[in-house]
């Protein structure tokens, strides 16, 4: 409602988390696209080149993992900021993600304020 428009992909296999995250982003003025897995996120980006301003991706998903999804998204959209959300991964895995080019890492349960701050920072740094 008070933020610049932009499409943010919300990629999470948990429908509850997906809906809550998308709702918060919508309330704050973004256009959120909810996607249940990495494959559909890749398909969306292929169908909508440069259509996404940002992706928020769950780390642990059936099928493509969050890191695999991140790499494939970046192969399609080298400039796309990607925030990874994780509930259970080891610190060593999470700590390695920024070095691989992940824009930000958030631990689940993700606080709404922390998510919005990370989104604003990621979009401002583009």
């Amino acid at each position: 409602m008070n933020a610049p428009a932009g499409t943010i992909l919300v990629v999470d296999d948990d429908p509850g988390i997906r809906a809550i995250t998308a709702e918060l982003l919508e309330l704050s003025g973004y256009h959120a696209v909810s996607l249940p897995d990495g494959t559909s996120a890749i398909a969306w980006c292929q169908a909508n080149p440069r259509g996404a301003a940002l992706a928020v991706v769950d780390l642990s998903m059936p099928g493509l993992s969050g890191t695999q999804t991140f790499r494939l998204l970046r192969a399609l959209e080298p400039q796309l900021p990607v925030i990874i959300a994780s509930g259970s991964a080891e610190d060593a895995i999470l700590d390695s993600l920024p070095g691989q080019g992940v824009t930000a890492v958030l631990r689940k349960p993700v606080r709404g304020g922390a998510l919005l701050d990370a989104v604003v920072r990621a979009l401002a740094a583009r």
Partner: protein, 245 residues
Amino acid sequence: MNPSTEDIARIHRLHSLADMAGGMAHEFNQPLTVIRGSAENLLIARQRGWQLTPERIDDKLATIVAQCDRISGLIDEVRRFARGAEDLSPAPLLPADAIEDALRLGRVQLSARGIGVSVEDRSGGRLAHVDRHALADVIIELLRNAREAIVGSSRCHGTIIIAIETADAAVVVRVTDEGPGMDPAAAQAAIKPFDPRSGAASLGLAIARRTIETMGGSLAIDSQPGRGTTVILTLPAVADASASG
């Protein structure tokens, strides 16, 4: 040193408990995530001065209430499962009598959905040693599952077959539906509490299994995708096969 039979049984129980705890955590976490997120989104919207329509606020509050109800329902089921079957009074019984009790309660709901029930009693009047009300409750649960399987497969009509037979020292009741069936892993998971591989929305089958096992019987599922599902209750028969009642 080889582990004893008791050791193996204990390890098996611990593994089952760990599986159940993991499944429970998952089941409770889902509605909690939605409750927390819905409440937090409302809070953030207020704190940041975002305008929310009354309909949107109502929708969020209704979501929170519904998810709390879901957790309450889960807790009730866990209590039922934990309580087990301590109040059972097994006695010689014609299983057909308990099945008739169940059908008296469930037939209207079944016929309203175009589902018929056929009871085929080939037990020759063999008595089982079970609690009548508990067996009726189990049959009601099985009828409900069968009904949902048939309705879920978009069939307007279907028949549930309840067959009663004898086998050695047991009376066997088979409840068969013409629903979509399930693969063997899902069938095994459906009778375990909070097994994540189960598509079951409740603990009903796990509670039914526990009830039957407490009475000295067993509950098994025979199912294949596309071939319907049969739940097999093996009930202890009374020793005197000539008794009637």
